[in-house]
């Protein structure tokens, strides 16, 4: 399976990773010798304050600045603002929440959003269709820097029909536009009155209609939420949630293992495995797509398909998984996970070292020996190191590593100032994530691919309403993706909630967005 050079590289890198992990961060926590538990057996129980640990503190509580995914502050957004919709974790089917329905009568160009009757924000102002229009329009303005820019950008027209009804028209057919709502801050509607008061006032009083309200926020410390007893839906079980922000993943796990916290979100397979060994509750979000090695097609060297194919064939993804995840990661060999209704068995990459070397030799013979700079972000250096090490055995290929700050994500991915780097395209519902990432000209198309056949497959998949038609379209997409070597999916993205065995009701939607109303603590 591995050649001699690769075995040596693997051993050396693993040893280095172990040594470095002992010197930096907290190192591995000693697993406590409790039996693994799946959470409380009986419940739900009302009462108690849950302590949640998240990766990074939001810069403010504006819903447009929060990100609706596992890594960021989705819990805070869902708690303060509630959700228009959630989604079934297995089927991705839209589940009404504060909104009652989202329907289309013309196959996905014009939609009607209906809210529940009588909704109000906690400041007493009405949560109506006008409030939704306010926020979705706000997201459309690039100057506001909303994380919902791309999704709201599909909307070309909005019309408030009555207090509970908003009609909107999209620039192109997108039957499952609802999935885009659940993936973005479009799902969170704050009081326009409070929002217009400005950032400072809003942070002191972030008015929403969610199951919790803000009690207190000490920056760098704890963000405390209290149950909103006037919540329009079933009241939350918890009395409150204390959110703390801890960057170090090992420390988050240590806190859970010692009972200092109740729940956290994990984005690392190795840590997930340790959580299981420690007897903690591990809840994974079923997801397709994954994390990938993006190759910038708009500039050398990866504007040459041979270069991309050489890397795609040359990288041993099992060895890669061994290095970066201690072998615990779930490989993303196919676009969809095994149990996804749209699964197809088109392998996105194929390890073929002989073919890789042939391509590299071909490039060298054309006067273009492959020299690659891998841009990796702080904290993810091991990915670049594994890439460099595993490709070091090939002739006519050199790899350099450049480590940059996460502050440069916009420059690197948004402005495509990289050769190869780490990206992620994970989804339950492909219609949202895949066009966003791979449609020619899309703002988040960070690899710069612009292929008519790939676009056609994406559009067909998005527009189709029957499962068989969608499956056929995404099979074409997978085939073309592999032919063009657009990127190298190296693992499913870990969207994992880890909790003590006292925590029940753990539910997530879309990209691992944790739902606070269902959470409860066993006595």
């Amino acid at each position: 399976m591995f050649n001699r050079k690769q075995r040596f590289a693997l051993a050396a890198l693993t040893a280095a990773a172990l040594l470095l992990s002992g010197c930096a961060g907290t190192g591995s926590p000693a697993p406590t010798s409790t039996e693994g538990t799946g959470g409380p057996v009986t419940g739900p129980v009302d009462g108690g304050t849950l302590t949640a640990l998240l990766l990074s503190e939001p810069r403010n509580l504006d819903p447009h600045g929060l990100q609706n995914n596992n890594r960021a502050q989705a819990l805070v957004g869902n708690a303060l603002y509630g959700t228009l919709f959630t989604a079934d974790p297995d089927s991705a089917e839209l589940i009404p929440s504060l909104a009652e329905s989202l329907t289309t009568s013309d196959g996905g160009t014009t939609f009607e959003l209906k809210l529940r009757e009588g909704l109000t924000f906690t400041d007493g102002t009405p949560f109506d269709a006008a409030a939704v229009e306010y926020h979705w329009s706000y997201a459309q303005d690039p100057e506001n820097g909303s994380n919902g820019l791309q999704d709201s950008g599909l909307i070309v027209d909005m019309n408030v029909v009555d207090d509970v009804t908003l009609e909107f028209t999209l620039e192109r057919e997108t039957p499952r536009f609802g999935a885009r709502i659940t993936l973005s801050p479009l799902n969170w509607i704050a009081s326009p009155t409070a929002h217009e008061a400005g950032a400072e006032a809003f942070d002191a009083n972030p008015v929403g209609a969610g199951p919790f309200v803000l009690d207190n926020w000490t920056r760098g410390g704890t963000l405390s939420l209290l149950r909103n007893d006037d919540y329009a839906l079933d009241a939350a079980h918890l009395d409150g949630i204390d959110v703390q922000f801890v960057a170090d993943t090992n420390q988050r796990l240590n806190a859970l293992a010692t009972g200092a916290a109740d729940i956290t979100m994990i984005d690392n397979w190795g840590i997930t495995a340790r959580a299981e060994e420690a007897g903690l509750q591990v809840v994974e979000m079923p997801i397709s797509g994954g994390q990938l090695l993006a190759m910038n097609q708009t500039a050398a060297p990866f504007d040459d398909i041979r270069a991309r194919q050489a890397i795609a064939h040359g990288l041993n993804l099992e060895a890669f998984n061994q290095i970066i995840n201690e072998g615990q990661g779930t490989l993303a060999t196919y676009l969809f996970s095994d149990d996804h209704p749209l699964f197809n068995d088109v392998a996105l990459t194929e390890y073929d070292p002989e073919r890789a070397q042939e391509l590299l030799d071909e490039l060298a013979a054309d006067g273009k020996p492959l020299s690659v700079t891998f841009t990796t972000f702080q904290g993810s250096e091991v990915v670049g190191e594994a890439y460099q090490s595993l490709l070091s055995s090939y002739d006519n290929l050199t790899v350099e590593i450049e480590v940059v700050s996460w502050a440069e994500t916009g420059r690197v991915l948004g402005q495509k100032q990289y050769q190869t780097t780490i990206a992620a395209t994970s989804f339950q519902e492909p219609d949202t994530a895949l066009p966003r990432a791979y449609l020619g000209g899309a703002p988040r198309n960070s690899v710069g691919v612009n292929d008519a056949e790939l676009d056609r497959a994406l559009i067909d998949g998005t527009n189709a309403t029957e499962t068989a038609a969608r499956q056929e379209a995404y099979q074409r997409f997978s085939t073309r993706f592999a032919e063009l070597a657009v990127g190298i999916y190296y693992q499913r993205e870990p969207l994992v909630a880890v909790a003590s065995d006292k925590v029940g009701g753990i539910q997530m939607y879309a990209q691992g967005s944790l739902i606070p109303d269902t959470l409860w603590l066993a006595e």
Partner: protein
């Protein structure tokens, strides 16, 4: 008074230089807060427009001058990232950093003094060699090594202390102490080693002086001679190093604060550099520079207390 005025004047120059260099270095780092604020979907045009609104398209010297004019009047500006006043953000975090620094230094000074006195009292003895070996071990254990070890032993295995977090001293002193002890120990570890070696060397040198021999010859006890006669003249280097280290720690023990998720100045500096939040970086750098200047002034004044010869003008 003249000496103080001179020191203050020099200190102001230091602060000016440090803040200007910090501003220049930030401009050299790639990435922009505008990119961070607008996200990865921002076009170069959007980024440029926001940078213009934030004044980031002006020459560096002009941006710095604008900031300086405000700073001199007590206005350190507003964070581009959080929109909070910079001064308020820093002031809110000072108590945490100060408490950690104070606890860390106190532990270090007490332990290092005990070690140094024992070492100097029995130089080259097995005890001295054992303490030197321990110092070598502690010296090679910076905060990011000592911290995880303490967490593993005291929080995970023994379960005596919490892994992370903070309770303000004003809220609950007992709980505060529980959260503060591990980070303070992590800070103290390397300080103990450095201070022990310094003080040991100075004590051994002083104990070899004639006046010590004279004191012993007059029948004074070893302990009396050590504390009454030897310790004071041996403490100049200790005080100098302490002042520098206190200044360093009061500015925030960055790694320890990040490791234990403490809301201190060090953590604020890390976040603001990561996000390229220029006003906040300059504000924190200014605060740290002021601390250093004050500590150096205190050291100079302390010299005069410890050694009256320093206070007398030099005879011409």
């Amino acid at each position: 008074m003249r000496m103080i005025a001179l020191r203050v004047g020099r200190g102001l120059l230091v602060i000016l230089l440090v803040t200007f260099v910090a501003r220049v270095m930030l401009s050299l780092a790639s990435g922009s807060i505008a990119e961070g604020l607008l996200g990865s979907e921002a076009t170069p045009e959007n980024v440029a427009a926001l940078e213009a609104r934030l004044g980031l398209d002006r020459p560096i010297w002009e941006q710095y001058l604008t900031w300086l004019v405000g700073a001199v009047q007590g206005d350190l500006g507003t964070s581009m990232f959080t929109q909070q006043p910079v001064a308020e953000s820093i002031i809110a975090r000072i108590p945490v950093s100060f408490q950690l620094a104070a606890m860390g230094i106190l532990i270090a000074v007490v332990v290092a003094t005990i070690f140094a006195i024992l070492s100097a009292s029995f130089p080259d003895s097995p005890l001295d060699r054992a303490l030197n070996a321990l110092s070598s071990v502690l010296l090679s254990a910076p905060g990011f090594v000592a911290g995880p070890i303490f967490i593993f032993v005291f929080a995970i295995v023994l379960g005596w202390l919490p892994v992370l977090g903070w309770v303000p001293l004003s809220e609950n002193p007992i709980e505060n102490l529980k959260f503060a002890i591990l980070p303070a120990l992590a800070i103290a570890v390397q300080e103990i080693a450095a201070l022990h070696r310094l003080l040991r060397t100075d004590l051994i040198t002083t104990l070899g002086d004639d006046f010590i021999l004279a004191a012993r010859a007059r029948g004074m006890g070893r302990a009396y001679v050590m504390f009454r006669h030897a310790f004071r003249p041996s403490s100049f280097s200790l005080i100098t190093v302490l002042a520098i280290n206190i200044g360093n720690l009061l500015g925030g023990a960055v790694i320890v604060e990040v490791l234990f998720s403490l809301p201190g100045v060090g953590g604020l500096l890390v976040t603001s550099i990561t996000t390229r939040d220029i006003p906040m970086v300059l504000g924190v750098v200014t605060f740290i520079a002021i601390i250093y200047v004050i500590m150096n002034l205190v050291v100079d004044l302390l010299y005069g207390v410890l050694d009256p010869r320093v206070r007398r003008p030099v005879a011409r």
